[in-house]
């Protein structure tokens, strides 16, 4: 019995840890939607949700319940398997990235040595959900949305990966915990200052990667109605929605880890070692929301132009300079 426990214990602990992390992340995602509505509401001189629960705090729960109980409509003529699968691909790929993110020094679900690569791989994978759903829906708007998504992935994935190369060069590691430690040891404490160009490129491509304003072309409500998920309803629609916010949280977490010094802060807060991580995360999430309330949408060709003509050359230049400095200093 003891033997079994001894073998099973680490696995059990991992499962519990994973569950806790997932639950916390889900709560974050749910309340990001609430925060988004509330913040944008106040930016636009209106109230935002305020009916369900005190100050509308139960709104996300009500939303989930509503989506769960809605009829799940699958239009005829769709590629059934892919249509069912696509939202899960998006969501799973988005949520799995959370496993490698070190929330604080001693807590990362999977402390793998190629953490950054895992994140990049998974975030490209989540775009497959978008592309596949666009194709499987057999609807013209969804098809256009899927096309846009694939084009967007091709251009912005590259820029994002390249912008992270500078960080890898400086830290000399792809392990996220190592990157944070290397940052703390560096003269500026955060990489956002020496890697300002990389940070800039990363933030922009992260918005594009998560399909948010001003790069929300695949779903562009006023052009393609809802783009790739126009044919989805009920909880499948909800899953896409969830995936988008998961992507937002993951991308912000990666930015915090790679550029803003992760869990480290100006001073220790006893008892809450992840305090600074969360503060930075929330700040970045606020930035996302703020951008959404302010900016209009790019046009498709302008978006591609921005990616290929500005972001990729910039990040290449950044790599070159970082490499040269690394070589001589």
């Amino acid at each position: 019995m003891e033997g079994i426990l001894k073998v099973a214990m680490p696995g059990l602990i991992l499962v519990v840890e994973a569950l806790v992390l997932l639950l916390v992340a889900l709560l974050h995602v749910a309340y990001t939607t609430y925060a988004e509505r509330k913040i944008i509401g106040h930016m636009q001189q209106r109230l935002g949700p305020n009916r369900v629960g005190p100050r509308g705090l139960l709104q996300p729960i009500a939303d989930v319940l509503k989506l769960l109980t809605k009829e799940d409509i699958v239009p005829l003529g769709t590629e059934k398997t892919l249509f069912y699968l696509a939202p899960f691909i998006s969501l799973v790929a988005g949520a799995t990235s959370l496993a490698v993110i070190p929330v604080w020094e001693k807590f990362a679900l999977a402390n793998v040595n190629v953490g950054l690569l895992v994140i990049l791989a998974l975030s490209s994978l989540s775009s497959y959900g978008v592309i596949l759903s666009g194709w499987a829906s057999n609807s013209r708007y969804a098809f256009l949305g899927g096309l846009r998504a694939s084009a967007q992935v091709v251009s912005y994935e590259v820029a994002m990966a390249l912008s992270l190369v500078g960080v890898m060069l400086m830290a000399g590691s792809m392990n996220l915990a190592e990157i944070v430690k290397a940052q703390v040891a560096s003269p500026f404490k955060v990489y956002a200052i020496p890697q300002i160009v990389g940070f800039f490129v990363f933030m922009i491509s992260a918005i594009a990667e998560t399909n948010r304003v001003p790069f929300d072309l695949p779903e562009a409500e006023t052009e393609l109605v809802a783009g790739y998920f126009v044919e989805y309803s009920g909880i499948r629609f909800g899953l896409f929605y969830l995936a988008e916010y998961f992507g937002m949280v993951v991308m912000s977490a990666v930015a915090v880890t790679c550029f803003l010094g992760g869990w480290s802060g100006p001073f220790e807060i006893p008892g809450v070692p992840f305090f600074w991580f969360l503060v930075k995360l929330y700040a970045l999430l606020f930035f996302y929301i703020w951008v959404r309330a302010t900016l209009p949408r790019y046009r498709y060709d302008q978006l591609m132009g921005l990616g290929w003509k500005l972001l990729i050359p910039l990040s290449l230049l950044n790599i070159l300079i970082t490499g040269l400095i690394k070589l001589w200093v």
Binding site: I40, M43, Q44, Q45, R46, P75, L76, G77, E79, W135, N138, S139, R140, Y141, F143, L144, L147, R148, V213, P214, D216, L217, A220, E221, T222, E223, L224, V225, R292, A293, T294, L295, P296, R297, Y298, R299, Y300, D301, Q302
Partner: protein, 409 residues
């Protein structure tokens, strides 16, 4: 399986797919501003062909008017461009007044000018809100609605209705302004210019906005006239044609205002023209308000204006020749609206709104023709979007500022 299902079986993007990629945009679509339906033939994202289909809101307004009296038909004009109903009413009343040969008291003309310019501001605010929302700027939308709400509230105080006002009537206006309304309008005109500046800072310095509007759907001036564009859409191309200046009606000849024109004729210029027009409209309201005390106590309806319940004949005030006997008779019955025909156009917020009315001397119009700017503007869409991208079609619909109620009539 029924044949209807088989159509759906064909996969888009499948190698066997050999038809042109046609997207049916509308009539239910978030940004076609009503029930406009566009058949778009696409090559990737580029528009190859575009065929607007209208008529989803066709209520037979022209046919209906032929079966109503002149006063009853006035109410229908509210439903043309339901965003600026006061301007539609004014145009119709001007046409009927011209048929009748009525001259409207000065106070009524001032009041009409005020409500017309209020309609212009509220229409342009709605245009800015939806145009910005279509391009993706969400916040401007709600800011504009806040101000529009204020204007609608003032409308409500003036005449009891917010949208379909029917405030003007043949020969004048329905009610005089109360001092509270004048006061509130003064407050509005004081605050409004600052609000416009606010909106400009929100989007005018925004690089994405500039990228999305500059150089999009350029219309050279000659072509704009040939396509029949009027109003701000024409002035964006640099043609200073404004009915308020060219054929002044109401009190426009006694107020000072400028007609802003664009230079390049692109979406951005039309946007600038409309923004500037709001400022000018504000200025016109202000001047009219300043002139109101001079006309204190004047009637707001012309003498001899027909009743709301219009009979077909009325007693003539002067002696008229008797139809059969040929000598002058006093108190004989003459038609309320004499026989004749008239084309009167006004500068509605969307463009030149014209009424062509033929009267046969009975109490009902023989023919009411509405020259609706939106109708003409929609007919110009295929020409304007050719070679542009799907995203631009939204910008084009927005920049032409179309309302389908007016287009379909």
């Amino acid at each position: 399986m029924a044949p209807t299902v088989e159509i759906h079986r064909k996969q888009i993007g499948h190698p066997e797919w050999d038809e042109p990629f046609v997207v049916n945009m509308g009539p239910q679509h978030p940004s076609t501003h009503g029930v406009l339906r566009l058949f778009l033939e696409l090559d990737g994202e580029t528009i190859v062909g575009c065929d607007p289909r209208i008529g989803y809101l066709h209520r037979g307004l022209e046919k209906l008017s032929e079966n109503l009296t002149y006063s009853q038909a006035l109410v229908l004009t509210d439903r043309l461009d339901y965003i600026s109903s006061a301007a539609n009413n004014t145009g119709y009343c001007l046409a009927v007044e011209k048929l009748l040969g009525l001259s409207v008291p000065r106070r009524a003309r001032l009041l009409r000018t005020i409500v017309c310019e209020m309609a212009r501001i509220s229409s342009h605010l709605l245009w800015l809100a939806t145009h910005a929302l279509d391009i993706g700027a969400m916040t401007v939308f709600l800011y504009c609605f806040r101000d529009r709400e204020w204007l609608l509230d003032i409308y409500e105080k003036i005449c009891g209705a917010r949208l379909t006002v029917s405030y003007t009537r043949i020969g004048g206006v329905r009610l005089d302004f109360t001092p509270e309304i004048v006061e509130e309008l003064y407050r509005f005109t004081e605050e409004f210019p600052a609000r416009i500046t606010d909106y400009e800072t929100l989007i005018d310095v925004n690089r994405i906005w500039l990228k999305r509007t500059k150089g999009v759907a350029v219309v050279p001036p000659e072509k704009a006239i040939n396509m029949g564009l009027t109003g701000p859409s024409l002035r964006g191309s640099g043609v200073p044609y404004d009915v308020r200046k060219f054929k002044p009606y109401d009190a426009y000849d006694e107020v000072e205002f400028e007609v802003p024109v664009g230079r390049n004729g692109d979406t951005y210029d039309r946007y600038r023209v409309r923004m500037e027009e709001m400022r000018q409209a504000n200025r016109i309201i202000r001047q009219c308000l300043d002139k109101l005390p001079e006309t204190e106590g004047e009637p707001v309806v012309a003498e001899g204006a027909p009743d709301l319940l219009m009979p077909e004949k009325k007693k003539s005030p002067q002696a008229v020749p008797h139809p059969k006997k040929g000598f002058l008779v006093k108190g004989a019955e003459v038609p309320v609206v004499p026989e004749g025909e008239v084309y009167v156009s006004i500068e509605a917020p969307k463009g030149e709104l014209g009424y062509y009315i033929v009267s046969d001397g009975s109490g009902k119009p023989w023919r009411v023709r509405v020259r609706a700017p939106s109708f003409v503007h929609i007919s110009a869409i295929p020409e304007m979007v050719k070679g542009h991208m799907v995203a631009d079609i939204i910008a084009v619909i927005g920049t032409l500022d179309v309302v389908l109620g007016e287009c379909d009539r």
